[in-house]
């Protein structure tokens, strides 16, 4: 059984300079209360691995605005002009990764694979500096695994074992990132008694979750 923590307690677990895998797609399915608490504790030098940096004032965009981020690994930053400005000024280093490659690199990191072979990115700037491998006459890029010090996961519902259930397009990167964080902090909208979530509905087994955020008030 897990004792639910407050957002401030969760943010205090995360040191400056940590690598964070953060769920969400344009701030949908992002761990908003943990993000707010990281901004409140004035976190610094974070590396954020996420699909995108949302937009100013929303989700991960709040961490960008607060100057909490030194590096971003994402597939898209186009809707956050602040990320682009900080990239151009050199304040933030940005590594752009195709979306399908990003999620598979994180999955590889989480499930003990040494990398991913994909045709995505061949013949484009994504290929630069990477090994290519021939399999059955087809060429693939070798993409390396990604792991995080922490995975910050947003879920619709949890139980006190830490089992997680997700909602609609708020799944996105969350179930994958829950595999790849050294420490996994889940932010459910609600927490229900153990047994309420059907085993078939569990997308992230509670054994992966280290800390559970208290339910939203």
């Amino acid at each position: 059984m897990k004792h639910a923590v407050k957002p401030g307690e969760a943010a205090a677990l995360i040191p400056d300079g940590a690598i964070l895998l953060v769920g969400g797609f344009m701030a949908v399915g992002s761990p908003h209360r943990i993000i707010d608490a990281l901004v409140a504790r004035n976190a610094r030098d974070l590396t954020i691995v996420a699909n995108d940096t949302a937009m100013p004032g929303k989700g991960i965009g709040k961490l960008i605005s607060a100057g909490a981020v030194k590096k971003v690994v994402a597939s898209h930053i186009g809707l956050n002009p602040e990320t682009q400005q900080k990239m151009i000024s050199g304040e933030i280093e940005v590594e752009l990764v195709p979306q399908g490659t990003l999620v598979e690199r994180i999955r590889a990191g989480g499930v003990g694979l040494g990398g991913v072979l994909t045709a995505t990115g061949l013949g484009t700037p994504v290929e630069d500096g990477k090994l290519t491998v021939e399999i059955d006459g087809k060429t693939f890029l070798l993409e390396t695994p990604i792991k995080g010090d922490f995975a910050l996961i947003a879920a619709r519902q949890a139980d006190y074992v830490g089992n997680l259930e997700y909602s609609l397009t708020a799944h996105n990167f969350n179930p994958i990132m829950a595999l790849a964080g050294e420490t996994v902090i889940a932010e459910p909208q609600t927490i229900v008694p153990v047994g309420v979530i059907s085993p078939d509905a569990v997308k992230t087994p509670g054994v992966l979750v280290d800390h559970l955020l208290e339910r939203a008030h």
Binding site: L79, L96, T120, G123, T124, R156, S167, H171
Partner: protein, 217 residues
């Protein structure tokens, strides 16, 4: 009829019943408006839904149900919500029948550039590289020229999205099929002569006999 409507109506004719189709944001998303009522397809939004529906009435939005542009959507009966690994597995794995994307440039090889303008616009590729590398059919939907400048060129000057020959280019002036031999002019746009199309195209066009005019309602 404006240029975008011509393009969207013509692309809609390429969609066959029971396809799984991914429409990019902007112009490509307009294609859904012109699908015949009796043609049932599933639209995928790569952020995690198969069976994307129309925008919900005001006040009935679900914050956990958006499209890949972050706009509120609905899900049709029979829809499935999926995580990003499943979503891009479908895309790369040959399960997506068609993707329709916008384009900055397409060249005589049929290669597409649509994700960055060095020094000007670096939004990130998002899912575009996976979509172009993986979908069974790739349709580029774009206006034929940009402020008088050619967008269909001998060779793309912008970084490629993928080194893969796209299936079809649909513009307000032409339908063009990239082939091993080069770009074949299949149809000309409303009120366009073959000479008009050739003048507006930076790459050589292969013209076989009489080129029919697009038939759009």
């Amino acid at each position: 009829m404006d240029a975008k409507e011509i393009i969207a109506r013509r692309v809609a004719q390429e969609i066959e019943p029971e396809m799984l189709v991914n429409l990019g944001i902007g112009l490509p998303s307009m294609v859904a408006n012109y699908l015949p009522k009796d043609v049932h397809v599933f639209f995928q939004a790569e952020n995690g839904v198969i069976g994307l529906g129309a925008r919900p009435p005001e006040g009935m939005e679900d914050p956990d149900l958006t499209d890949a542009g972050g706009g509120f959507v609905t899900a049709v009966p029979g829809a499935a919500s999926i995580d990003s690994a499943m979503s891009f597995g479908l895309i790369r794995g040959g399960h997506l029948d068609m993707t329709v994307l916008g384009g900055l440039q397409v060249d005589a090889r049929g290669y597409l550039a649509n994700w960055m303008i060095p020094g000007k616009m670096v939004p990130g590729m998002g899912g575009a590289m996976d979509l172009v590398a993986g979908a069974k059919q790739v349709i580029v939907a774009m206006v034929h020229t940009a402020k008088g400048n050619h967008k269909i060129l001998p060779e793309c000057t912008l970084p490629l999205t993928a080194a893969r020959r796209v299936s079809l280019i649909v513009t307000d002036m032409a339908v063009i099929e990239p082939t091993e031999a080069g770009l074949v002019l299949k149809e000309r746009g409303p009120d366009c002569s073959v000479d008009d199309v050739i003048a507006a195209t930076g790459a050589n066009l292969i013209v076989h006999g009489d080129v029919p005019q697009m038939q759009i309602a």
